[in-house]
């Protein structure tokens, strides 16, 4: 877009002025708090009292703690499986909405479920999976089991089932917007050039919808791995995640500095996970923007 110069300046200035309140709000309540948290992670605190002494001890303590590593493993495990299931379960539905129907009814239904309360859905799964819950009591009444199946609740599986239910609408929306960019004529072009269904999926759909697929996977992963309420209510001892540890540091133990250090370690794990996913997509030749032929130096354009 090109604007003539005087109006360009005025327009630009009005844009900056309009953006200012939001920017200021976000700086004060997002950027500054994040910075405060970062600083805290290098200070010392005990039972809600913070001492401004520069130290790495929080990080060292966290990294040397087996419980922390176990919680990290739990969080990553829960996040990864939640993301895998959410993407895998939502993909066919996104496909159906994008290519097989013109009505928006399914989309609206999914949106509606997204807004049907976070806690209610956790509670619903507790009702269904609980020791005296729907599944156990039904099975016992039918005489199929004598004792409640204990693995149903207070396990990582229970947390994963619940988190999948929580995040699957969100995953679907991201996948759908990605598939909307892959017009049907690209699919037809692939088949016309000789690609089987599987080949056109791997060579065309995935690279073209890369942002949406990796994005929805990573989002679901991060939100699920960082969730602490589902592990708290459904995870039992097996499901203690780093998110839950962090929340306990801030709400019960009061060692904020240690909690902050844990949070930044978790953030580092998220970044590393993203790097791993992006790299494996590249290695699998599923990323966009790869060249599959040797480019001669003379042909290379700056």
């Amino acid at each position: 877009m090109r604007w003539s110069f005087p109006s360009f300046d005025r327009r630009q200035r009005s844009g900056l002025a309009l953006a200012a309140p939001t920017a200021v709000f976000l700086v004060i309540f997002f950027v500054v708090p994040a910075a405060v948290l970062l600083v805290y992670s290098f200070w010392i605190s005990r039972s809600f009292q913070i001492t401004p002494t520069l130290t790495l001890s929080n990080y060292l303590r966290a990294l040397g703690n087996a419980g922390m590593w176990l919680s990290m493993w739990n969080g990553v495990w829960i996040g990864a499986w939640t993301a895998v299931f959410s993407v895998a379960l939502s993909f066919p539905v996104a496909w159906y909405i994008a290519y097989r129907t013109r009505s928006n009814a399914i989309l609206y239904a999914v949106l509606l479920s997204w807004f049907s309360s976070y806690l209610v859905r956790i509670y619903a799964w507790r009702t269904i999976l609980g020791t005296s819950g729907l599944i156990n009591s039904t099975l016992m009444q039918l005489g199929m089991i004598d004792q409640p199946l204990s693995f149903l609740i207070f396990s990582r599986t229970a947390v994963i089932v619940t988190l999948v239910h929580l995040f699957v609408p969100f995953t679907l929306l991201l996948l759908l917007s990605a598939l909307r960019n892959v017009r049907t004529d690209y699919l037809e072009a692939a088949r016309d050039l000789g690609a089987s269904w599987r080949q056109s999926f791997l060579r065309v759909v995935v690279p073209m919808a890369y942002k949406g697929i990796v994005g929805s996977f990573m989002f679901t992963f991060i939100l699920a791995a960082g969730d602490f309420i589902s592990p708290q209510l459904l995870g039992g001892r097996e499901g203690v995640t780093t998110g839950l540890l962090i929340s306990n540091q801030f709400r019960q133990t009061g060692n904020w500095s240690f909690g902050a250090a844990l949070a930044f370690i978790l953030l580092g794990v998220f970044l590393f996970a993203y790097f791993l996913v992006a790299q494996s997509m590249r290695l699998g030749r599923l990323s966009p923007g790869l060249r599959f032929h040797p480019t001669l130096p003379t042909q290379e354009k700056a």
Binding site: E188, P207, M208, S287, G289, R291, H293
Partner: protein, 371 residues
């Protein structure tokens, strides 16, 4: 407009359709399609939007299944063959070049699926890109290409598989006029070089006339007329065909004095004789005649006498110079208007508004339309 047509080198047909029909629910998109696509020709599906031309092309490509009729490729039933198994490739209307791949990899797409060795792929892609004059842009990304360049890459990609038949779906619709004319001659050149059979879909009569060996004129899901551009232009069989291709004067008329070869037509522009008559005309039958404006000549009515047949006396009501041409509109005594088109003279126009003129046309210029 070119009156020259490409020679039809081989009469064997690649694709053969018999009684083809396509229904979408209760809507019939195609009916009674009997058509052969001949080896080496450029066959154009021409018609207004919604006439079924795109559906017919998509059936050949394999993206739609016909609801009835037979579809054969060199004598073998093609109806069960999925699109990826057909030796047919397509240039899509909006090109559908993969944005995640560069020019080279787009062209190599089909070859990679066949697991060709790299050297062979390089050779073929290089040759294709050279043919469409895009060999210097092999490493460009798709979003860096202009419309005309995208068109060339799409063509190279479709031809890289060496298809027996190339389908082109309104490939020039997205280009501006100048590039469009250049691409038409490029298409013709590439077709000559590769010898590939082309099926070309368009709603643009000029493109069809310039490019085609034969034209399939379609309307409401049926084949209206099939023939060379000249046949369609000079001998349209229906009102629709006459109106769709080029400008023309359409006049209602009635067959008089014998239904034989020397039938005379009586109509709003007086009595007429036509050198080329459709078979089976009956005395008293109501028909239309089509007379192209460029076949109608005008002359000052004060000179000579009015022709008794294939001519009329009229008054000029409008003069419209259009670049190299002049279009006159003349009104007959009974109010009928006819247009005449001539080459524009370099000096002042010889005729003026309101002037009385004699209109004249030859027997060959009269096309009799029974439908």
């Amino acid at each position: 407009m070119s009156t020259q047509t490409l020679p039809v080198p081989d009469r064997t047909s690649i694709i053969s359709m018999q009684g083809l029909e396509k229904k979408f629910g209760t809507f019939t998109a195609l009916r009674d399609i009997d058509l052969d696509v001949r080896e080496g020709e450029i066959l154009t599906f021409l018609g207004p939007s919604g006439c079924g031309k795109t559906t017919l092309m998509r059936i050949i490509a394999g993206f739609e299944d016909p609801t009835a009729g037979s579809l054969q490729l060199r004598g073998a039933d093609m109806r069960r063959l999925p699109p990826e198994k057909r030796p047919i490739n397509m240039v899509f209307q909006r090109y559908a070049l993969f944005p995640h791949l560069d020019v080279f990899d787009n062209v190599a797409f089909g070859l990679r699926l066949k697991n060709w060795p790299a050297a062979r792929i390089n050779e073929r892609v290089g040759r294709m890109l050279k043919m469409v004059q895009m060999d210097t842009m092999a490493t460009r990304w798709i979003h860096e290409l202009s419309g005309g360049q995208s068109q060339r890459v799409a063509l190279a990609r479709a031809l890289a598989n060496e298809p027996q038949l190339l389908l082109l779906d309104e490939p020039l619709a997205a280009l501006d006029l100048k590039i469009r004319h250049h691409m038409l001659s490029e298409l013709k050149r590439i077709q000559r070089e590769t010898g590939t059979t082309f099926v070309y879909v368009t709603h643009d009569q000029d493109e069809a006339m310039i490019l085609s060996s034969r034209i399939v004129l379609m309307n409401h899901g049926r084949i209206e007329q099939l023939g060379t551009p000249d046949e369609l232009y000079f001998h349209p069989v229906s009102l629709f065909a006459a109106k769709f291709l080029g400008e023309t004067n359409i006049l209602p008329a009635e067959v008089r004095s014998g239904a034989g070869d020397d039938a005379v037509l009586e109509g709003l522009a007086g009595r007429m004789r036509a050198s080329h008559l459709p078979k089976g005309l009956a005395d008293g039958q109501k028909v239309h005649v089509s007379i192209r404006p460029e076949t109608v000549s005008l002359s000052d009515s004060t000179v000579g006498t009015a022709p008794e047949i294939n001519g009329a006396l009229a008054e000029i009501t409008q003069i419209q110079p259009i670049g190299s041409r002049v279009v006159y509109t003349a009104r007959l005594d009974n109010g009928t208007e006819m247009r005449s088109q001539t080459v524009r003279p370099p000096d002042a126009l010889p005729l003026a508004m309101g002037q009385k003129v004699h209109l004249k046309w030859s027997e060959a210029a009269v096309a009799v339309l029974t439908a």
